[in-house]
């Protein structure tokens, strides 16, 4: 997994509330295999009209934000469906960080497994960031995961993230290798569990 330490990039504001994973990646693209091409259908129905033409009013279609690596979203960003392909779409498009006042839990978890940072900020700091980006759209935003800070022009504030997620992103760790290092503990748990809660293992009635 790609590490996340610090980036400086343009940040595209998408401050609408409840941008769910169905909007990030519509369900009809869930069949796509993972080939690094999910970015093409990111926000498909928000970015493009029914004929496939770009909607000029959608922020990612505007000049300063077309190559944004950061998205600044609204409350409950990524709520809804557990589809990890929503994270693939953001990542493949080039997005490495989403900043929002709150996230769907499963979305955040999926993001962490793919090198995408989800940074939680207060509504007040979010409002100030929106204001700054509205006045100067091309303003670079620096997100530093080690320091847990966001700097944009004169603005400087902190964001929150679970410590374990932060560690994972900073190191680009693969969970499976980490888990296998606890193989003996897992085996011991399994044996004890089988004794204490034998009913948890399904057996078909005959």
């Amino acid at each position: 997994m790609e590490k996340f330490t610090r980036i400086t990039a343009t940040a595209c504001p998408l401050p609408a509330e409840n941008i769910d994973t169905d909007q990030i990646l519509p369900a009809r693209y869930l069949k796509l295999p993972r080939k690094g091409e999910h970015g093409k259908v990111l926000f498909q129905d928000l970015r493009f009209d029914a004929d496939g033409h770009e909607r000029p009013d959608f922020p990612l279609n505007r000049a300063p934000w077309r190559n944004a690596k950061i998205i600044f979203g609204g409350r409950n960003f990524g709520g809804g469906s557990s589809r990890e392909a929503a994270v693939y779409a953001l990542f493949d498009y080039g997005i490495r960080c989403v900043i929002a006042p709150s996230f769907g839990d499963i979305f955040s978890q999926n993001a962490t497994k793919n090198g995408l940072l989800t940074a939680v900020v207060t509504e007040a700091d979010g409002g100030a960031l929106t204001e700054a980006l509205t006045q100067e759209p091309a303003l670079g935003v620096t997100v530093d995961l080690g320091q847990q800070t966001i700097v944009c022009g004169d603005l400087h504030f902190h964001f929150t993230i679970d410590p374990a997620r932060r560690t994972r992103l900073l190191n680009g760790w693969d969970d499976i290798d980490l888990t296998e290092s606890f193989r003996s503990e897992i085996n011991a748990f399994k044996a004890a569990n089988l004794k204490q809660r034998p009913w948890t293992v399904p057996t078909q009635a005959t």
Binding site: P15, A16, E17, N18, D20, D22, Q23, P26, A27, R28, L30, K31, P33, R34, D45, A50, G74, R75, N76, G79, G80, S81, S82, R83, E84, A85, V87, S102, F103, G104, D105, I106, Q109, N110, K113, N114, D162, P163, A164, T167, D175, I176, L178, T179, E180, F182, E185, I186, F189, K190, N193, R197, P198, W199, T200, V201, P202, T203, Q204, A205
Partner: protein, 468 residues
């Protein structure tokens, strides 16, 4: 004396293997996979790994399966590939599969419980956010993404940070004809779609105890729409009665031991919750959604909100956007909203009790709009047919189809056309959820039936009264 524990604390600690960096490695008792789990199986193949515990892993074909023409080849090659891919993955990994041709096939969150695979005290995961449904049995059940599905396949464990504990107490008696969906929408309208974010919700109170297992499943299903990590109801006599004689329910000595363990699955008196919410069941009305998020729910006698009356500018902007997408006008009475079609189905509201509630309103009436009824499972379908419910739906002019996720997510081809308005028993009224440009209003099965016979959103209560 030991510290009083919540039900969730007990579920958590009984699955904890190790702790590290503020997270715990948890043992997974039950893992359900479906056609959409293919990314995880690809990951497995890339690593040359095998499924660690095939006996604890079950496959169900639901997301892409056709609801018509069963027994014939699937005409759309892409959809056929999704279904056969699951067949192959399950066969290669020795996973029991309830596939398209199995008489137990249905929606994973209906099938698990009805087969007795879902039990109190288990930790259950599936690559689907509505896995919260299984919490109705006092299980810790939650949805996960493809990376976590792959992790569970390979290790039968999962790293999780312990959520905070939340209790939603619903006391009092619901009005006649109202159900779990109304409670769920009342809660979400109250606390918002991120109201339970980071929390494990325990549903408690006399109105919850009075719910059937079907009702508890509907409620826990919708816990995810309140942002909750999971929804749980403590098991009781209703739960144990439901579990009796199910195909995979433990028997003999194992059952006796299980009953002993399940008796402990409740929050101790004085246990501490991080967040408490109380709802008065007597004040709950039939709810419908007007906008593009489940929190946009109002009692049926209300009107579409007016953004000019909203003090928060972001919220006002959101309301304007939602009204525009939904093709509504501020202040329009909800009962004046004409619909184009209805859908009765999904893991939220397609169990036998849901079909009975809808059929009771539709009996001897005709739907003014076309509609589709897709039972929650093939077993539910057979039972409904034994009870003659299929005839009531057909006589009312609705289509009676086979079981699957169908028009809730639309990926099997059951879609609502752009601009069309659908009254739906599903869980998400998101933009484009039922098809590009589709307009979804979510509500209970009885309310969908009332909308069908009225041609517009309608209160089902007068329709019930007239019958008796």
């Amino acid at each position: 004396m030991s510290t009083p524990l919540t039900l969730f604390d007990k579920l958590w600690s009984s699955h904890e293997i190790v702790q590290r960096d503020g997270e715990s490695l948890l043992w997974v008792d039950r893992h359900f996979v479906h056609e959409g789990s293919f990314h995880a199986f690809s990951r497995l193949a890339e690593r040359g790994a095998a499924v660690a515990e095939p006996a604890l892993t079950f496959g169900v074909a639901d997301h892409y399966v056709p609801t018509r023409g069963r027994g014939k080849p699937i005409p759309n090659p892409e959809i056929a590939r999704m279904v056969s891919q699951l067949d192959k993955n399950a066969a290669d990994q020795n996973i029991t599969l309830f596939g398209l041709k199995d008489r137990r096939q249905g929606i994973v969150h209906v099938v698990g419980p009805e087969l007795g695979l879902t039990l109190p005290g288990l930790l259950i995961v599936c690559g689907d956010s509505h896995t919260s449904t299984h919490g109705a049995f006092g299980a810790y059940a939650f949805g996960i993404g493809a990376s976590e599905v792959a992790h569970v396949l390979m290790t039968q464990t999962l790293w999780q940070k312990k959520p905070k504990r939340m209790r939603i107490t619903v006391d009092g008696k619901l009005s006649e004809g109202l159900g779990a969906k109304d409670i769920a929408l009342a809660i979400i309208a109250n606390i918002g779609t991120d109201g339970a974010s980071g929390h494990a919700i325990e549903f408690a109170g006399s109105a919850i105890r009075a719910l059937s297992m079907e009702g508890r499943m509907t409620l826990c299903n919708m816990a995810i729409e309140a942002g909750g990590r999971c929804g749980i109801v403590a098991p009781d006599a209703t739960t144990f009665d439901y579990l009796k004689s199910r195909e995979f329910t433990p028997t003999g000595a194992a059952f006796d031991k299980a009953m002993q363990d399940w008796g402990e699955l409740k929050s101790d008196a004085g246990a501490n919750f991080d967040y408490e919410v109380s709802i008065d069941a007597t004040a709950v009305a039939p709810f419908v959604t007007w906008g593009t998020s489940p929190e946009d729910a109002l009692p049926i006698d209300a009107s579409v909100p007016d953004p000019t009356l909203e003090s928060n500018p972001e919220r006002a902007k959101y309301i304007r956007g939602a009204i525009d997408y939904m093709g509504l006008a501020p202040g329009k009475k909800l009962t004046d909203i004409a619909i184009d079609r209805v859908f009765i189905g999904s893991c939220t509201n397609a169990r036998i009790e849901d079909l009975r509630a809808a059929a009771a309103i539709l009996a001897n009436r005709v739907s003014k709009v076309p509609g589709l009824v897709s039972p929650g499972s093939s077993s539910v379908k057979r039972q409904a047919e034994e009870e003659g419910l299929d005839r009531l739906f057909r006589d009312a002019g609705l289509e009676w189809a086979d079981s699957g996720c169908s028009m809730c997510v639309g990926i099997n081809g059951d879609l609502v056309a752009s601009g069309e308005r659908c009254a739906s028993t599903t869980n998400r009224n998101f933009r484009g959820r039922q098809g590009v440009g589709a307009r979804t209003h979510i509500m209970s099965p009885a309310m969908v039936a009332a909308a069908a016979v009225s041609g517009h959103l309608a209160d089902m209560r007068p329709l019930m009264a007239r019958k008796s």
